[in-house]
Symmetry: C2
Subunit: 112 residues, 2 copies
Amino acid sequence: MSNSKLYKGSLITIILKLLDESDKMYGYEITQKVKKITQGELNITEGALYPALHKLEAQGFLDVEIAKVENRTRKYYKLTEKGNKETSNKLSELEEYIKTMQTFISPKFSLE
Amino acid sequence: MSNSKLYKGSLITIILKLLDESDKMYGYEITQKVKKITQGELNITEGALYPALHKLEAQGFLDVEIAKVENRTRKYYKLTEKGNKETSNKLSELEEYIKTMQTFISPKFSLE
DNA sequence: ATATATACATAATTTTCTTATGCATATGTA
DNA sequence: TACATATGCATAAGAAAATTATGTATATAT
């Protein structure tokens, strides 16, 4: 069940990016999608996911729509206009971060 | 002063990698080196660094040696044998993580 | 009947930061 | 001389973002 792989701070970016790709998604669907895409590498826990979705909604980045499918409740989330901007900001941040970290990983980063 | 760029969990990896490159380093030196390498992108705060160094030492990954230079105290840290193993583990983890995150960033990651 | 999958949620706790503060020495500058 | 900045360590309070542990409920497969 555990991750130990999800660097703190990146869950929000993952959620936003997934919603950017597919018009709308519900929580459980996100956990399954992440598992599939990462081939089991990343497992989003519900204790992290749901509070994150609620926060994004409270910040006005997501709109929610409740649906009943096969007698079970789903909460579909989609990006607002504000959420679109936030997504590109978060993605830029992540790309920058990866570049920075790669300067550390590369065997010779010496700028002395 | 603030970062907002240091994803939680990566500081330890940065410290270990730096110590892997240069035989021994002291705390303040690490903060300056990180600033230089990342061209100011990352600023390691002391409140994060020193506790992290103490923890790594307590875990047996670092040895410490106290020196007096120009009447000021320095605490030099170096990797133990155990620390070397931990370093390669942490670096592998980070590389894997970056690969995973890049599958999200890339415009089309659909495995459907 | 029981386990597993689907679907949401929250509380307690832990980890890992930031921010703020403190102590002390050395050096450059107004 | 006074004051700011740089060097060098440290810890405490608080915030953020996870994990772990629960809880509720329905559907389906064994």
